[in-house]
Every structure is written in structure tokens, then in C-alpha cells.
Symmetry: C2
Subunit: 227 residues, 2 copies
Amino acid sequence: MIGRIDTGTVAMNRKSHPTRERILDAAEELFARDGFAAVTVRQIMRKADADVSLAYYHFKSKRDLFDAVMLRRVDHLNSIRLDALENVEQRHSGDRATVEEIIAAFTQPLLELLASDHEEWRHYFALIAQINNSTEFGGPLMTRYFDPLVARFIEALKKAMPECEPEDLYWCYHFLSGALTLTFAETGRIDNLSGGICKSSDMTSINTRMPTFIAAGFEAVCRGRRP
Amino acid sequence: MIGRIDTGTVAMNRKSHPTRERILDAAEELFARDGFAAVTVRQIMRKADADVSLAYYHFKSKRDLFDAVMLRRVDHLNSIRLDALENVEQRHSGDRATVEEIIAAFTQPLLELLASDHEEWRHYFALIAQINNSTEFGGPLMTRYFDPLVARFIEALKKAMPECEPEDLYWCYHFLSGALTLTFAETGRIDNLSGGICKSSDMTSINTRMPTFIAAGFEAVCRGRRP
DNA sequence: GCCAAAATTGAACGATCGTTGAATACTAGT
DNA sequence: ACTAGTATTCAACGATCGTTCAATTTTGGC
């Protein structure tokens, strides 16, 4: 982290780590930090330690490279979250699942991935954080990649709170989405604000608080505005 | 001036609306939609209906123009929110203020500005939405512009919940910040997800739910983990 | 009406952008 | 060893980027 312009390569033994993957790694990191438009294909390839034209050989264009970065991890993400949800539902075959348990199934797999300091995932989540709050990319991309799973979670929440109006449910999910994705950005803002008490990277602290916070919000809104 | 390609100027009578302001308006809208790096100075000046070099005459550089866009509205924003907070505190000179009231003072002035379809503010808030979730810009900019006010709100929350650990308080504010700024982005994602039941632009619906949601979250976290 | 200051114009600068194509090196299967 | 396909290198393309500068027009105080 020395020097603003890092020529630092993604490294790893160049043989065990195929070029295609090295390009994706470098692109992921730079897109996450600076955004799609701010990053140059030449920057990416410098970091990947490969020639510029290889970006267009392995992927067709800068935009397609971006999509490849997105697609590389989205299936695994949706898979582990669905597993967590089904796990909760199996534990409650007779009775109702708690809202907090369902929320935890939604957030915990991601936060655990972030906690297990795999750099790769940190960058990917930071990228999602940016996309989610982007007026242009935000809607379409998040919808395409994650909303099938989200719809599944909302179904589960409907069962857990049958008296809740759908409109309330969707807005509450909106709040959840915002709170979760800001966490992914790790902007360091809370570090300053709290005078060092809190650390942006401390996913354990978030993991213990987020489900409680969000579940209470869901229940207050849904119960509060019932006719 | 004949045969100009109409990409939609910021218009208004060119006399009553000075060039400097027209540039700021155009920059605000484009930065908000596409992000700092994706926007071209030439795009901005085309929309502002002025020559490229005027951007560098009125502001020194693209980056300084960006800062000017930010600074133009930040004082007014902090002012109306501080007023709202002081209003709450005056109403409760003897007893404690409700957490929900304090949160409402934090969110309502912004949401009302967004509801009163002044396009100008819509763009500004969308810009904040992007910055807040940006790994590079996010921390420093938000800290500089808004954290003095935020610290003031957190003081008020401490008084409203004296038993609450500061660490919990800061994390809860983090969740609030994420939920609020995603709202600003108006990505249209919730429109799709809800099948049309919810609209990203419906600030009234958000305004009636957000304080309830967030206040319940604060109280659950702070009460739940008290020793 | 004069004149200095402020505002606007038009043209250009080097740098760098995304992208391409032709030539070369490497890696199988036979 | 030959070959076919895959992977990599090198050099370049037109376009457009942020920025500057000299010349011109407009403005406001006297």
C-alpha cells in the first residue's frame, strides 16, 4: 500500500495461475477500488503482468471483461445463501422460523466470506457495494444477478410474518440491502467517526449486530402499520 | 449556435441563469448518473450550452468542478438537519427525546427535499449515494462534509439511550447510513423486485417507514447486548 | 463614450484511451 | 518431427481525453 500508483502485479506463480484468472483478479481489484470508467485496460493488464491485447483475446471488450468479473463469483454466492436459507427452513418444518434467523441466513454467509480474509472476496464485495448504489448500473445488474434469490428470501419472510403487507416487506428489504452493501465498501468512514472504536473491516462486529438490527426493523414496520 | 446537436441543455433563460450555475447543474446531473470518471468535461459543457474552456475559467480543473458541485449544497443540507434536531431537543427540554424522533430529524429533511420534485436535489442525492459506497472517495468525502453533523446526532442518541454502548451506536448509525443513501440512488431495483408495488421515487413511503425501521433497530441492538 | 475587468470563443497541445491485426512462440496429438 | 490450434507479443489506428492560450466580445464604473 505504498505509493498511489501501484504497479504491483497480482503475482502468484505465473504458471499455476493462468492468465485468464490473473486478468480477472486484477480487473476485480481495480474496478472495485476505482469504478468501471476510472480503470484503464492498460492498468489492468499491467497489474496482471500481461500484454494489453490479451485482454481482448480472452475477453472481447472492456465491458465484457467487467461482466466476466461479475459472473465469476455470483453463482457461488447465491448457492451458499440458498443453502443457509434451506437450512433454516428445515430446522423449522413444524413451527415458524424467526425473522432474525432468516435475515442471518441472508447476511451471514457473505460476512463470513469477508471475515475469512480472502482478498479476492473483499474486492468482489466492494464492487457490489459500488454497483448497488449506482444510478445507471445499479438496478439492472443487481436485479439480474441477485433478485431471484432475494425473491426466495422474501417468500420466506412472508411465511414468517404472514400479517405483513407486501409493500412493507419490500421497503424493509430495501433498507436491509442498503445497510449490507455499505458494509461491503469498507470505506473507513466509521473508523474516523467512532474515533477508532469501530473498524470498517471488523465483520464479526457487524455479523453480531446486523441480523438483530434488521429483524427488529422488519417487525416494527410490519406490526406498526397493520390496519 | 445554429445546428447544435441537442443532447438536452440545462436550458433556462441563459441570462437569469448564469453560466457558472449552468455548469454546476450539468456537472451535478452527469456526475450523479455516471460517476466522476465516466463523465467528460466536454459532455458537461455541451449540456451546459457553453464552451469547453469555460469550465477551466470558472473552475480550475475537472476535479475542482466536482468539489464545487459537492460544496454548493452541503451547507444548506447540514443547516436544515441541525434545525430539525434542535427542534426535537427543544420539545423535550425536560424528558428524553424518542429515538424515532431523532432519526426522523436526521432523515426527514432530506426525504422531503427529494419528495418536492426539485430535480436539482434529486441529482445531488444520487451523487451522495454513489460517493457513500465508493471505496476510494467514500470515506474522506463523507467524513469531511457530513460527520460533524453526524457526531451531533450521535450525541443526541446517546442522551436518548444512555445505557447504550458507543460501539453499538456507531454500528447502528452505519446501518442507517447505508439504508438512507441507497434510497438516494433511486436505482429502480425495488420497482422490479416488488412487481410494481413499490417505486424507487416514492419518498413518502420511505419517510413513513424509515424512522420506525431504524429506531427499532437501534433499540434492539442497544438493549440486546447490554451487560 | 472610454476603459479596465470579466466573460466567452476557437483552436490547438500532448497524452492516453479502447481496440485491432499481423507476426511470433508455445503446446498438444499423431 | 510435423502440424494445428492456442496463447502471447509488438506496433499501431483513430478518437477523445483534460487542459491551455491567445484573441475576442461583453460588461460595469466613471
